[in-house]
């Protein structure tokens, strides 16, 4: 327990001569939730893609400690090993559930897909797991055979979360998971995420532009601007005692309801 899960050092990505993100370094421990905040174009999504192994860095490294305690350098893994890791240990929750779901496959099929990719074939057990996860994300298990297109946005997002968590990953990347949802639906999803993250001991890297979401879900926070990290700290420190001019501007721009 007392060792990092993820070590990131000097992580840099250029798009031609344009900076995606530059010289990002941090460590993440099991059970920790790190929020990356900043406005659009600040490099948050580039960083998330680099961290989850979906994009190759121009320089720097992302190392992940697997269940056997071995350190694996994500950019240097073979394609097959990286895919396997992405299915077993990592999860990605996209902002738009359509990017993370198979819309022409039933809800149960969506939940079972990662398990089947790992070689699970027993139909009854797959269905049982599907029903169990429908319930855990507060979806009506009777709708297990419905396609996601028949679900509301909030339900699709919960299905996407179930689809990711079914293989009990240790690290989940979330890209604006609540931002496309109505406020009341957002509150329900936040509550669900809070409980799942705590009960499963998940480590999470959460990209959001919503500082209130970051305060509720995150332990730590990293503020990005122009591809660089300008401030880090505990979430409540960064929000209550912001030091960098850009963070102060972000925090002072929050509307009070």
């Amino acid at each position: 327990m007392d060792q990092e899960l993820l070590r990131v050092s000097g992580l840099t990505r250029y798009y031609g001569s344009r900076v995606g993100c530059r010289d990002v370094s941090f460590s993440l421990w099991p059970g920790e939730v790190l929020a990356i905040v900043g406005e659009s174009g600040s490099g948050k999504s580039t960083l998330l893609s680099l961290l989850s192994g979906r994009l190759a860095p121009t320089a720097g490294d992302v190392s992940y400690r697997d269940r056997d305690g071995r350190w694996l350098s994500l950019p240097n893994l073979s394609e097959a090993d990286r895919r396997r890791l992405q299915r077993t240990d990592l999860g990605v929750v996209h902002q738009n559930p359509r990017d993370g779901l198979r819309m022409r496959v039933s809800a149960g099929g969506n939940i079972g897909e990662r398990l089947m990719a790992l070689g699970h074939r027993h139909y009854g057990r797959l269905r049982g797991t599907g029903l169990d996860w429908m319930e855990r994300v507060e979806l009506d298990p009777q709708r297990i055979d419905d396609h996601p297109s028949a679900f509301s946005g909030g339900m699709q997002q919960r299905l996407q979360i179930a689809r990711n968590l079914v293989t009990e990953p240790r690290l989940v990347f979330m890209d604006e998971p609540t931002s496309g949802l109505d406020v009341s639906v957002q509150a329900r999803l936040l509550d669900l995420l809070r409980h799942l993250v705590a009960s499963l001991g998940l480590a999470v890297v959460l990209v959001t532009h919503d500082l209130a979401v970051a305060r509720i879900l995150a332990h730590r926070m990293m503020v990005m601007r122009g591809g660089e990290v300008v401030e880090t700290g505990l979430a409540d420190q960064v929000l209550d005692d912001p030091c960098h001019p850009y963070t102060q501007l972000l925090v002072s721009s929050i509307l009070q309801a």
């Binding site: 920790e32 505990l234 420190q237």
Partner: protein, 232 residues
């Protein structure tokens, strides 16, 4: 003499407001304070003297500009001004309870869960955590019909008592109390005074801001006087 539970040396905090022309505001300066187990120190001084900022700096919610805040934790000591984030969270979870002036409500989380989660986070079994949370909410006169509700719609006094319940449901070795009785009526104020005295009795080190003279005289062993620092 045992080592103090809290040891503060040369602590200073200056805010630089970049969005307002770089104005510098000195919150407090040169604070030295030791607090022993079983002792209660009241922060005293005019509005703007930095009392709440000092309390928040002990909790590492604010990041002091210089100086150190060493707390006893897990048989060792941790400097809250220099510790890693996860070390600070561990201190907050196990050692350092903080009752802020205002309750931060989380949508959909019930009053009972808000209080009980302080115990379950420490590994207390759910049933026992709920039982202890119920006992404390009852003692603080929160009507039972409110327990399953998120406290967003509660009155100021009710929210404050939920906050107090969160701070007292565990026996934190150190308690930081920011105006814990500000919006309470006489009966509830007496209950909270008794809870503070009981915490001292079991050996808690307490630093608090108590606006009410009667409350302060009842609970505090001594005062730390803060004055408004000169403009930076």
């Amino acid at each position: 003499m045992n080592a103090p539970m809290i040891s503060i040396r040369a602590l200073a905090k200056t805010f630089t407001l970049h969005t307002q022309g770089g104005t510098r505001i000195r919150a407090f300066d040169g604070v030295d304070l030791d607090v022993a187990a079983g002792e209660c120190v009241a922060l005293h001084g005019p509005s703007g003297a930095g009392k709440s900022s000092l309390l928040r700096s002990i909790y590492a919610n604010y990041r002091p500009s210089s100086g150190r805040v060493v707390v006893r934790h897990n048989g060792g000591s941790v400097d809250m001004t220099a510790a890693e984030p996860r070390a600070i969270l561990d201190v907050r979870r196990k050692t350092l309870g903080y009752v802020s002036q205002f309750l931060r409500v989380i949508p959909r989380v019930s009053t009972l869960d808000l209080v009980a989660e302080r115990l379950t986070a420490m590994g207390v079994e759910a049933g026992e955590a709920v039982a202890r949370a119920c006992g404390l909410l009852a003692r603080l006169n929160i009507p039972e019909r409110l327990w399953p509700l998120a406290p967003a719609t509660f009155s100021g006094g009710e929210q404050q008592r939920v906050n107090i319940a969160r701070g007292f449901v565990r026996d934190y070795p150190i308690l930081l109390l920011d105006e814990p009785t500000a919006s309470l009526d006489g009966e509830n104020r007496r209950t909270v005074v008794n809870m503070i005295l009981e915490a001292k009795g079991r050996g808690a080190a307490i630093v608090g801001i108590f606006h009410d003279d009667e409350v302060r005289e009842a609970v505090a062993d001594r005062c730390l006087h803060l004055t408004r620092p000169e403009e930076a």
